[in-house]
Symmetry: C2
Subunit: 145 residues, 2 copies
DNA sequence: CGGATAATGTTATTATATAACGTTTAAGGC
DNA sequence: GCCTTAAACGTTATATAATAACATTATCCG
């Protein structure tokens, strides 16, 4: 299923490469301005918001980066290129995200849309909650309080 | 029509009523600033963004209004209060939205999350595409071009 | 080469959302 | 009633997110 990530050496410009690298180095989604503030990025010569947004747009076109709507932030896609839409689990404590495959759920959702005459282009699923680590930490807190 | 009728026992404040009424009167999601710009709203004495956002927050708490993340906009919930999460179909042509029930799909999605140790609080689904009207209009255009 | 196309640089501006702090309003106990 | 208190509200300022407009440079390909 995981086709080799041939995408990467292929067609990224310097700016796009720098932004993708920044996202890969982060352990959670970054906003465009988070990225802009990284020393690595400043050193690479990127210094305007638009520069970041343009790189992000291209990276999203190629499926290498996803936008998390409810955070106005961006994450590196760690599943390789996929045609199936994916969903995100967003931890409201630590801000980290987990990517999950939608599988047949995507079809189910799109099917419901079509029942109403709606032509679906894209499906976005975002779930908020507590990640395993933060859920455990919370449980520990409530035991000792 | 202008009256914020008693919605489910919960009483709304003057500001909340005005904002809800504005959303009910719109045929598509409105941003906070869209709402702020409405004559009805200005006449009701609401004149700062924060006033609108505070009202929206309370309305969302009560499940009377939903936020569309990918539009940064808000819609009146026309399904009455529900504990089941709903999804939205968003027309990229006209900007109108359709609300759809997720039903068992919600459980399926939350189940996948739990498999990974994630405790889900909320599920958001947003689908982009063309509504029935705009899909028909597009088909007509392509026939005559 | 030379012309087209995509990417970038730069500045300014628009759009979206919240902070901070003081005042008013409304609900409930006595 | 009237006191207490929490919620809601008003106002100003500011933070955060995204795009507009236009000039310049790099890249592809005949």
């Amino acid at each position: 299923m995981a086709e080799p990530t041939a995408n990467e050496g292929q067609s990224l410009t310097r700016n796009q490469g720098a932004v993708l690298s920044a996202l890969k180095g982060a352990d959670k989604p970054l906003t465009a301005y988070d990225i802009l503030g990284l020393p690595k990025i400043r050193k690479a010569g990127l210094k305007a918001p638009l520069t970041i947004y343009r790189a992000l747009d291209k990276l999203m076109d190629q499926g290498l980066v996803h936008r998390i709507e409810s955070l106005n932030a961006f994450v590196h896609c760690d599943h390789g290129p996929h045609d199936h839409a994916t969903g995100f689990l967003i931890c409201s404590d630590c801000g980290r995200t987990l990517e999950v495959h939608l599988d047949d759920c995507e079809d189910h959702l799109a099917g419901r849309a079509r029942e109403q005459g709606f032509a679906v282009d894209a499906v976005k699923v975002e779930m908020t909650g507590r990640c395993p680590d933060c859920a455990a930490a919370e449980a520990a807190r409530s035991r000792t309080s």
